[in-house]
């Protein structure tokens, strides 16, 4: 039973976890450092890009999505997609309000 289980489910080992942990800590250091550098317009974008990179690492490896079924991947994508709809469609209003009446 247990062997069948281990075949059905990919078990991610400590090695991967350690690598990801280190990558996440490096990412944290990097994002803090980047926030002290004046990059103007790019500051928030870089902060968000690093955060997204870190989040991807967590999702893919700590949460095993890399090794999961298509359904799980699709679920994650669906969540991100709806989240983006909420934000982007709301911002269509807020951004274009500044354009004046027409």
């Amino acid at each position: 039973m247990s062997e069948a289980n281990e075949h059905a489910r990919h078990i991610v080992g400590p090695g991967v976890y350690v690598v990801i942990l280190l990558a996440l800590l490096v990412g944290t250091a990097l994002t803090v450092w980047a926030s002290y550098v004046d990059l103007g317009f790019w500051n928030p974008i870089i902060a968000l890009a690093i955060a997204t990179g870190k989040a991807m690492l967590v999702v893919l490896f700590f949460m095993h999505v890399w090794y999961s079924t298509k359904l799980t991947k699709l679920t994650v994508v669906a969540g991100v997609f709806t989240f983006m709809i909420l934000i982007s469609m709301t911002l269509t209003d807020y951004i274009s309000r500044a354009w004046g009446s027409w």
């Binding site: 039973m1 247990s2 289980n5 281990e6 059905a8 489910r9 078990i11 991610v12 080992g13 400590p14 976890y17 350690v18 990801i20 942990l21 996440l24 800590l25 944290t28 250091a29 994002t31 803090v32 980047a34 926030s35 002290y36 550098v37 004046d38 500051n43 928030p44 902060a47 968000l48 690093i50 955060a51 870190k54 989040a55 967590v58 999702v59 490896f61 700590f62 949460m63 359904l71 799980t72 679920t75 994650v76 669906a78 969540g79 991100v80 709806t82 989240f83 909420l86 934000i87 709301t90 911002l91 807020y94």
Partner: protein, 250 residues
């Protein structure tokens, strides 16, 4: 009754091998049960994403409108505490992931250790958060409770922050909007902390059960799914840290 026999000829045999005790009656196999539970957990996390989505939307709108207020507000946050907390949470995510591995490979003592470490790191995170909150309360930066604009109208009255960032004084109408920043700060981190508290509560319960060997006999679904929840909390924090603490530190 007769109709129910219609399929008798071509129906699959009922699951008959001896079932593990944790297999619930309406599932055919443990794989199906674990799959269903895992998928349900992912869907639950989607609802959490959308729940925080509302807050992130509000944050984006007001950050665009009142950028200077958000910068000054964010300078009030202690970046050292914030970074430490990020590291603590990432570390706890790591110990949680290791806990899942221990459960999957049936290492009972390892699992208990990992869960206990996660529990401890979670408490550390909340402890640091409390310190940060206390500072805000002392400076009257809690919206709705005698909110004070002092630090923004007269930055030099707040020497610790001033010596680091040399913020210019905000004009009163912009300074007022720091209250919005702190509203969102408390909402987002508070909602996050609430999730942490719930998570820590469940962790405590899991440690007790793990010591009894409940998760190391082939039925590790609960640990795996809780792991998903814990990592999700970590992800939310990763974004909160970038958005609330690191708006503009230069």
């Amino acid at each position: 009754m007769q109709n129910s026999q219609i399929h008798a000829a071509n129906s699959a045999p009922l699951a008959h091998e001896e079932h593990p005790s944790y297999l619930r009656h309406h599932f055919n196999s443990t794989e199906q049960q674990a799959d269903a539970a895992g998928f349900a957990m992912w869907l639950f996390l989607l609802t959490e994403v959308m729940f925080f989505g509302g807050l992130f939307t509000a944050y984006l709108v007001y950050r665009n409108w009142y950028y200077p207020a958000f910068v000054s507000g964010s300078h009030q946050l202690n970046v050292v505490w914030g970074t430490t907390n990020t590291a603590v949470l990432i570390l706890s995510s790591f110990t949680m992931a290791m806990g899942v591995w221990c459960a999957q490979t049936r290492r009972r003592r390892g699992l208990v250790l990992c869960l206990a470490l996660t529990f401890f790191l979670g408490l550390v995170f909340l402890g640091i958060k409390t310190v940060e909150y206390r500072e805000k309360i002392e400076k009257h930066h809690v919206p709705g409770f005698h909110y004070s604009l002092q630090s923004f109208l007269d930055p030099q009255s707040d020497p610790e922050v001033y010596k680091e960032y040399h913020d210019k004084a905000l004009v009163p109408d912009m300074a007022r909007h720091t209250e919005l920043y702190f509203s969102l700060y408390f909402l987002m981190t508070g909602m996050h902390a609430l999730h942490m508290i719930i998570g820590i509560g469940i962790l405590g319960f899991m440690i007790l059960r793990a010591r009894a060997g409940a998760y190391t006999a082939g039925h590790e679904t609960f640990v795996v799914n809780f792991g998903l929840y814990w990592h999700f909390i970590d992800i939310i924090w990763i974004y909160l840290f970038a958005l609330l603490y690191l708006i503009s530190r230069h």
